[in-house]
């Protein structure tokens, strides 16, 4: 512990921090600054200050409860040192037994969503119906309207639960698309060489 715990006093921001703390305890998914501002009827900037205060108090190594930024909001989770004990008592049903096909489908929906099942099938080369149904059931993806062009096919996007489970502050925390598929250029060159031979 590098610094002594800051006492939460009667200072107005401290009072606000206590209310924010209470809201986060009751919530079962991340709350955004706007959610917190609306609930406390207070200013977003003061909410940010209160969250900084709470972040110091609920930090890894300092508390069993840790405040984290997740899925575009703020939420409490268990500290990593409690993980083993948590693992003995609690299941992780959302991510348990995700297949390789499910991971690929999740990646496609995360990067290209909202997208339809035919969009997913086009990239993976395999029908996506059962995988998509499984991911919807787990709550990792959800319906997001219909595609007017593709005969009203249902479109899917990832849920805040997806970001939470994978520990992402937002979808922007995913690796950049350009940084993935390093050998794609090699494939392209080989294919172009074959095409040139054929057309020659």
């Amino acid at each position: 512990m590098d610094r002594p715990l800051r006492l939460i006093t009667a200072n107005p921001v401290d009072r606000l921090a206590r209310v924010v703390e209470a809201l986060l305890v009751v919530a079962s998914q991340p709350l955004s600054v706007d959610d917190l501002a609306a609930a406390t009827n207070d200013d977003p900037e003061r909410i940010e200050t209160a969250l900084r205060l709470l972040g110091e108090r609920y930090a890894e190594g300092r508390s069993g409860i840790v405040l984290e930024r997740a899925a575009g909001g703020w939420a409490f989770r268990a500290s990593r040192e409690a993980a083993e004990a948590c693992g003995r008592l609690f299941e992780r049903p959302v991510e348990r037994g995700l297949s390789a096909a499910a991971m690929e489908t999740l990646a496609i929906v995360a990067y290209f969503g909202p997208c339809t099942r035919p969009d997913i099938a086009r990239i993976r080369g395999v029908a996506a119906d059962s995988v998509v149904a499984g991911l919807v059931e787990r709550g990792l993806i959800a319906e997001a309207g219909r595609d007017a062009e593709a005969a009203g096919a249902i479109r899917y996007r990832t849920t805040p639960m997806f970001e939470r489970v994978f520990g992402l502050e937002s979808l922007a925390a995913l690796p950049r698309l350009d940084d993935l598929g390093g050998d794609a250029d090699v494939i392209r060159e080989r294919l172009e060489a074959v095409a040139q031979q054929r057309s020659a």
């Binding site: 809201l23 919530a27 079962s28 998914q29 709350l31 959610d35 609306a38 609930a39 939420a75 409490f76 989770r77 268990a78 990593r80 409690a82 993980a83 948590c86 992780r92 959302v94 991510e95 995700l98 390789a100 096909a101 991971m103 690929e104 999740l106 990646a107 496609i108 995360a110 990067y111 099938a121 086009r122 990239i123 993976r124 080369g125 395999v126 029908a127 059962s130 709550g139 849920t159 639960m161 939470r164 489970v165 994978f166 520990g167 992402l168 995913l174 690796p175 698309l177 993935l180 598929g181 390093g182 794609a184 494939i187 392209r188 294919l191 172009e192 074959v194 095409a195 054929r198 057309s199």
Partner: protein, 255 residues
């Protein structure tokens, strides 16, 4: 090595390659669910096990898998088959490269997500039903009572009553047609039902038909029809007349 006996263990199918082909051709197995890459891998492993290159088997396998892939591609993208067939080799290579690159990226992204899940396996948090954003009561802007009153008065006026009169079905009484048919039968012994109801509305014709059946039930007429949809001929009999008044209140609606 006999390609058709290649044992497969796929997500969608388990058994010899030959059976897979049969099931696909009989449309008992959805080819879209079959991962063809897995079949190729199984074949390559089998070749590897044997330790020598069997060109006959390779040739046969290539033909079968190419056919399978073509079938699958047509099944997955029926509307694209046409536009893709018109592509020049360079364009086709470009399109294929683009799709392969997309897939390669998504495979990498999936691997990244798997690693991420592994590294995040120590994070435990509360899971609840979504969504849980508290429903915050929205504050209304200040309102003037007079304007509110005017708006309410506008809503409170009763809309004009719509007349549905033109939609009502009018059923003439059956007795009207009983009388009419009896009058006809007094003049001549037989008549054609169709010519008698010609020019009547659909509902009137239906009521006339009920009247005809009523006469038949009472034994006042007998009916003849050569075949389905041919004219119905009504013949008067000399049977006693049914009691008057019984049917005077008889209208189609009560049927």
């Amino acid at each position: 090595m006999i390609v058709r006996e290649l044992e497969l263990d796929l997500d969608a199918f388990e058994g010899p390659f030959d059976l897979l082909l049969t099931l696909v051709l009989r449309e008992e197995l959805e080819l879209a669910e079959v991962d063809v890459a897995e079949i190729v891998l199984a074949f390559c492993e089998r070749l590897e096990d044997r330790g020598r290159l069997d060109l006959d088997a390779c040739g046969e396998f290539l033909v079968l898998v190419a056919g399978l892939l073509e079938l699958k591609a047509r099944g997955l993208f029926p509307e694209e088959a046409l536009e893709l067939s018109e592509l020049e080799p360079e364009e086709a290579a470009e399109e294929l490269a683009r799709r392969l690159a997309d897939y390669r990226r998504m495979k990498d992204a999936a691997a990244w997500l798997s690693e991420r899940l592994e590294s995040e396996s120590e994070r435990f948090f509360r899971l609840g039903p979504a969504p849980l954003a508290p429903a915050v009561e929205r504050q209304l802007a200040p309102q003037e009572p007079a304007r509110l009153g005017a708006a309410l008065r506008l809503l409170a006026t009763e809309p004009p009553v719509l007349s549905l009169g033109h939609m009502a079905l009018r059923f003439p009484p059956v007795s009207q047609f009983l009388e009419r048919f009896r009058a006809v039968l007094r003049r001549r012994r037989r008549f054609d039902f169709e010519s008698e109801v010609a020019g009547l509305s659909r509902v009137e014709a239906a009521v006339a038909f009920l009247a005809m059946l009523e006469l038949r039930k009472a034994g006042e007429v007998s009916l003849e029809q050569a075949s389905t949809f041919s004219p119905i001929r009504v013949l008067g009999t000399r049977a006693p007349k049914a009691k008057e008044g019984d049917e005077s209140q008889w209208i189609a609606r009560s049927a």
